[in-house]
């Protein structure tokens, strides 16, 4: 990721923490929602694509890092995972771990 993106995210996280953007982190919430088109509403999938709801946080983060690095075989997740910063992946892991 470029330096610019990192800076923008830090700036925005500041907003979220100061309460202007509300308690929930809307950036994470929005990204997580976009995963649902493949992984199913609420992270519960029908068919071959795995569910994400309730995945262990550590396992989630490791999976995404391994997808990025190419050390975990993937049909499509390398292309997806590379689009997100490490901070976003951490936040997404916490979000999905919290879905029942």
């Amino acid at each position: 990721m470029t330096k610019k993106i990192t800076l923008a995210i830090v700036g925005f996280a500041g907003l979220a923490l100061s309460g202007i953007a509300g308690a929930a982190d809307i950036h994470t919430q929005s990204i997580a929602s976009t995963c649902m088109s493949c992984h199913g509403p609420g992270g519960k999938s029908q068919g071959a694509i795995p569910s994400l709801a309730g995945l262990d946080k550590e396992y989630f983060v490791k999976s995404m890092k391994d997808f990025k690095a190419g050390t975990r075989a993937a049909s499509i997740m390398k292309r997806q995972a590379n689009g997100y910063t490490d901070a976003e992946v951490e936040a997404l892991a916490a979000y999905f771990a919290g879905l029942k």
Partner: protein, 419 residues
Amino acid sequence: MTLNRRDFLKVSGAGAAAALTGCATTTSSARPHVVVVGAGFGGATCAKYLRQWGPNIDVTLIEPNDKFVSCPMSNWVLGGLRTMDDITHGYDNLPRHGIKMVKDMVVAIDADKRFVKTRSGASIAYDRLVLAPGIEILTGSVKGFNEAETTGKVVHAWKAGPQTALLRKQLEAMPDGGTFVMSVPAAPYRCPPGPYERACMVANYFKQAKPKSKIILLDGNPDVVSKKPLFTDAWNTLYAGMIDYRPNNAPLAVDGSKMTVTTEFDDVRGDVLNVVPRQRAGELCAMAGARNDSAGNWCTVNLATFESTTVPNVHIIGDSVLSNLPKSGHMATNHAKVCAAAIVELLAGRQPDPIPVIANTCYSATSSTTSGYVANVFRYEAGKGYVSAPEGGATPKGDALNFTYNESWAKNIWAEVLS
């Protein structure tokens, strides 16, 4: 359904009184009212997430059709892999989110006074309006198309529904050794890989059921617009000798009695003709004055909120938007989510996420057992719009694993939009 005054009050709640007296509600009202028009991939998703993320917001969703018929997987119906039933879904689950569904069609928009008018005569006021009409097909741009379409001789089947079923019937009735002629509109159009997937699905059917048949693909573009390696691999290996691909062959005219498509070069005769004319943003956007690009064809929006660049409080999502993002159902649901999140913040007087991140994926089947995809993550940057992240791209060859993921994707996105 015709809305009488009492129904209308039930439907639009607080906003109704304002509409009847001709003055719009303001953001200071206790429960802001968002009207979403069009319950396709974009609109239905937006309505659902507005309610989920903004429980204090009243949401009305206006759609004339009883059922959602999915364009994604409609090529599979043409290939005989799916039925019309498989791609047809009800709206029954949406009211559970607290969405007010109105079965009607919007016929006028007053963006100054902030209300929409419907075919049945109702006026519905809004604080913010979301327009998600999909595309208008420029049937007049191909001479003779309107006539051929009216008589049922030639269809586009670029909006899934009765035309999909009719085209499948025509293909079934075609004799072995016949010719299927299909045209691809000049970009931008709905679903860049869609025409080439359709060619694969029809070829797959011919290979099984009528192997002496031919396909002529008349492309209005200089080359295959999307996933070229994937599709050309399928055409050369799975369907060798069956598909005659002709770039730079925009259809100028069609004749449903002679069964010909005329291009700059030729009159091409076929037994089944499938002409897909050029497209623009749905007429609904023009009603709001939001079909505002230089040619008056597409809608320019602030891509972090999807609010029109020229019409305040009106947001446009899905295929109608002008951008570098592909016009897909997957993308329309992501427009919808960014837009819903932004509206929730704006109505609360807060700043929307300034750096939304969205992704596109289009799976396409190349046969009854193989699929490939194109996938990209797009990160919004102020002043630049959506910038494609590294590692995006397409599969060079269809395979069985992606076919199972393609099937799973369809089930999940339908559930995501409609349940």
